[in-house]
């Protein structure tokens, strides 16, 4: 090329030499551009080959996945009574409906997540081990997802309805799962599997958020009792690991309670997780509050807002926006931390894996069960972090 320019003649442009374009060219430029890179490349490929070969051979030939297939219901909902399982399906349908509506109205991230949900449904419909009943419910869920996606934007006041729906979804789900006497009550002892994992983490995240905001405000408060109480609580909780909080909830709390008062063990764990997360949430929110320049407070005062108004309308929205990544990170880590409840004897998805591997029919298949659990955790945690990344972009966090 260079010679052409220098001579100035209009030679017909020839394509670059084959060694610099296409796959070969890319390989040469990036992987084999000098002798030590070439050696490194060959070594890495060899290591990768043997590692992958071992893994894939195990996954597709040695592993016996029937421990997952046969116990699939247990992994999902634990020992929830079969005759009441429609309630969980109904709750899931509600979630599908809301996902469909959100995807139809806002597109973007909601649409991506709905596609993932749809993919999960489809995989389970096609899987050979799910029962006809399950396939029917999955089909209904897919239909709901699709229909709500297309009709969502045409519903009057669709945005208000959907947001309201998301807020109501949580209490409705809890009501459906428990029954509270209106429907036959399902004891928390029977909640298990992925259902319990999700319930504990959602409750911890949802309740920890407002408590965390209050604690953060309390910590910056000018009233000494409130401030010192908040500092004490936050630093105390942050100073101990979650597992000790869980042990305390399981072992000490029952001993301290007066006779006759019994707090259900699932509830104890939920409270423990909520309080634990709220301390971290509080520190995240405080970080956001500190990032707000004093001018904002003064400006709020100048236009005559009282402290509550200025907090609600000026400070908090900005502060929370700044710490979305930290809050989502905390939520993801809480979701993963719920696996610790298996140690204190609850049957979350990990606890179920441990109970199932003790079935004499599946002795020694623990790897398969654990891998499946890991996959389930990964899909959910990754979806959460993906959603948060998109949200950050939309809100322009970190761009100012």
């Amino acid at each position: 090329m260079k010679t052409n320019m220098e001579t100035g003649t209009n030679l017909p442009t020839s394509s670059p030499p084959k060694s610099t374009i296409g796959i070969l060219g890319w390989l040469k430029q990036n992987l084999f551009n000098n002798w030590y890179n070439s050696i490194l490349t060959i070594l890495s490929v060899l290591v990768l080959y043997f590692a992958l070969k071992g893994t894939l051979t195990w996954v597709f030939t040695t592993a016996q996945w029937d421990i997952v297939a046969d116990n699939f219901r247990l992994f999902m909902v634990g020992q929830f009574p079969v005759e009441e399982i429609w309630r969980i399906w109904l709750a899931l349908s509600l979630v599908s409906l809301l996902f469909g509506l959100s995807a139809g109205i806002w597109r973007g991230t909601n649409l991506h997540l709905s596609v993932v949900l749809m993919g999960i449904y489809l995989i389970h419909i096609l899987a050979s081990f799910t029962s006809v009943n399950t396939k029917m419910w999955l089909g209904i869920n897919i239909a709901i997802l699709v229909v709500s996606f297309f009709t969502g934007p045409r519903i009057p006041k669709h945005k208000v309805v959907t947001i309201l729906g998301w807020f109501l979804a949580f209490p409705i789900t809890i009501f459906l799962v428990n029954g509270f006497g209106v429907l036959p009550e399902v004891s928390t002892n029977l909640w298990g599997g992925l259902l319990l994992t999700l319930l504990i983490s959602i409750i911890a995240i949802v309740f920890a958020f407002p408590i965390g905001i209050l604690l953060a405000l309390g910590r910056t408060s000018k009233l000494p009792i409130i401030r010192y109480f908040c500092i004490f609580f936050i630093e105390f909780v942050r100073g101990i690991p979650l597992i000790t909080v869980l042990f305390m909830a399981m072992l000490l709390l029952p001993l301290f309670l007066p006779e006759g008062i019994e707090i259900n063990n699932v509830l104890r764990v939920m409270v423990a997780c909520t309080l634990f997360t709220s301390a971290y949430m509080a520190e995240n929110v405080r970080g956001g509050l500190q990032s707000i320049p004093n001018g904002q407070y003064e400006a709020a005062k100048a236009i005559g807002l009282n402290p509550i108004q200025s907090m609600t309308f000026i400070i908090m929205p900005q502060a929370l926006r700044a710490v979305i990544p930290a809050i989502v990170g905390q939520s993801i880590s809480m979701f993963k931390d719920t696996s610790l409840v298996a140690i204190v004897g609850l049957a979350d998805i990990l606890g179920i894996a441990q109970a199932v591997k003790s079935n004499p029919d599946y002795l020694g298949r623990i790897m398969e069960a654990y891998l499946f659990v890991a996959l389930a955790y990964w899909v959910i945690a990754y979806s959460m972090s993906y959603a948060s990344r998109r949200l950050e972009k939309q809100l322009g966090v970190g761009e100012r």
Partner: protein, 367 residues
């Protein structure tokens, strides 16, 4: 300002102090209550009837809450349908069958090893049947009563057949794998110190990692309760290549446990357990129990409630043993169902045979 700060720290200190006082007070209350109530019952056996007895609570609730294990092959686990199954669970079902004539009237509360005694003491569970070894400390300090032992276990060692090891003495200098935090770890150290054998110990957090290490050959032998060794042997890639040494390193009598302070309930659990053994001794099974109903043998008639008021004395229907045998079976049936030759474990009865066959199971007479 300095003065105010001082005041705050005083305030903080007083909050701390009152909080810790509260905790101390609470724990004091708990322990004094406990000792008081257990003293009461030791003095007057009838005190249980005055208060809210466990039997009444169970009857009112409509089911038995059993503290169990959901992670021990053969003894307690969750089957594909989500139901609990296992040797320990079946003894819980026997109690439910005796009280409600319905072996499914139980709610199993899976408990971790640390949590089990707290759950029993605080009344969260009615009975604890979770492969719990009967020891002096547990029987006294932890405020529990042990019903008759349902399974006599003992710690054993597994080695590879081709290693040439045939007894504990051959393990000089060997690497032995053990689960951390268990009594097996302590027993191993005790026994080998007694015999003066040098060995290297490798500890593992869970049994799966331990077995995997043993199969890969990074430990020469591994140890746990013999029932555990047998159940694990079945899952090794080549079960025939391994052997369990004959020596038993420790005694592990496992049985149902109830809290102190309710002697009626203790008697109920005790005699229901004995009933399964007595039934096996008399040859009564879940299948032929109806044929025994018109038996002329007074021993059988008393057991099944055709004669005498044995059930009423316990606060149960007179035919409680009939219900247990009908729904759950005798001891031998329970054993064979979960651990016997037709299962993957194929565990020999050994010391868990009736006394008439040279074992340790011995039921006092029902009369």
């Amino acid at each position: 300002m300095a003065k105010r700060k001082h005041a705050f720290s005083l305030l903080l200190a007083s909050i701390f102090l009152s909080f810790s006082l509260l905790l101390v007070a609470c724990s004091d209350d708990g322990s004094s209550d406990e000792t008081a109530s257990s003293d009461d019952t030791e003095d007057t056996a009838s005190s249980a009837e005055e208060g809210d007895s466990t039997l009444d609570t169970v009857k009112e609730r409509g089911n038995l809450v059993l503290g169990g294990n959901n992670q021990l092959p053969g003894f307690g686990y969750v089957n594909e349908d989500g139901d609990y199954e296992g040797f320990d669970i079946d003894f819980g079902r026997a109690i439910a069958a005796a009280i409600f004539d319905d072996p499914s009237a139980i709610e199993v509360r899976p408990l971790s090893a640390d949590e089990r005694f707290t759950a029993l003491q605080t009344g969260e569970v009615d009975v604890l049947i979770r492969n719990t070894t009967w020891t002096t400390t547990r029987d006294t300090d932890l405020g529990t009563h042990f019903a008759p032992t349902t399974f006599y276990d003992g710690q054993g060692l597994m080695v590879r057949k081709d290693s040439g090891i045939t007894s504990v003495e051959d393990l000089e200098g060997a690497t032995i794998g053990v689960e951390t935090g268990t009594t097996t770890e302590l027993n191993l150290a005790d026994q080998f110190r007694k015999l003066g054998i040098e060995y290297e110990q490798q500890v593992f957090d869970d049994s799966d990692a331990l077995v995997a290490a043993y199969e890969q050959g990074s430990v020469d032998a591994w140890t746990t309760d013999k029932s555990g060794l047998v159940s694990r042997q079945a899952t090794l890639s080549d079960p025939e290549a391994h052997v369990i040494l004959d020596e038993t390193l420790s005694k592990e009598p496992l049985g149902p446990t109830v809290r102190q302070g309710d002697d009626q309930w203790f008697n109920i659990v005790k005699w229901i357990t004995f009933a399964t053994m007595e039934a096996e001794e008399l040859g009564i099974t879940s299948e032929n129990v109806d044929d025994f109903l018109d038996s002329d043998n007074p021993v059988v008639r008393r057991l099944l409630g055709d004669e005498g008021e044995l059930g009423a004395m316990l606060g149960l229907p007179n035919d409680f043993a009939y219900r247990v045998i009908k729904h759950v079976g005798n001891y031998g049936e329970i054993y064979n169902r979960h651990l016997g030759p037709d299962t993957v474990f194929g565990l020999e009865r050994g010391v868990n045979s009736l006394w008439t066959e040279g074992g340790l199971l011995y039921s006092p007479p029902f009369r």
